[in-house]
Amino acid sequence: MQKKLFCPYCGLRLSEKFYENRKRLFCSHCNDPIYENPVPATCLVVTDGKGRVLLVQRSVDPKKGLWCLPGGFIELGESPESAALRELYEETGLTGQIHKLLGVMTNPSQLYDSVLLVGYWIKMYSGNLIAGDDACDAAYFPRRPAGDRL
């Protein structure tokens, strides 16, 4: 991720300062630190009745061409649940119901430095599977990698 150079409030150049127990970007003009936070996103494990999981193939970087869970960033005014279901529809054409919260974790990101990822499990859904938005393909796969016993 590109480092911030200028204060988003006054536009003057930022410096680094040890503040509140860690090194932070700091604006000497505003006399305030620039707090940097993880970007919130969601992903969905959609399972079908045949023991398979729904994956989408990424059409954009990072990791273009690889497969991942449907999901994406939470937009302003959205709940994590509604963002997850919106992304599911955009990337797969499916309308789903959240069955369970799987967990929340932070992950390093090439583009955003850190992503706060909220994972949901979906068992009930409807619609025709059609890849869209950031996905160029969508398909159901066995849940287990080859040779994985779990």
Partner: protein
């Protein structure tokens, strides 16, 4: 797009772009096993 609708389930899980996504898939696998054990 039609390929996705007609695709036959592959034999193996492909390489997953993000380790966190793979963890959620594994967590779900365990939850499914727990649900089956609870029912039985």
């Amino acid at each position: 797009m039609m390929l996705a609708m007609l695709r036959i389930s592959p034999d193996d899980l492909p390489e997953i772009a993000f380790e966190s996504h793979l963890k959620f898939i594994r967590d779900t696998q365990q939850l499914l096993l727990d649900e089956i054990n609870f029912i039985m």
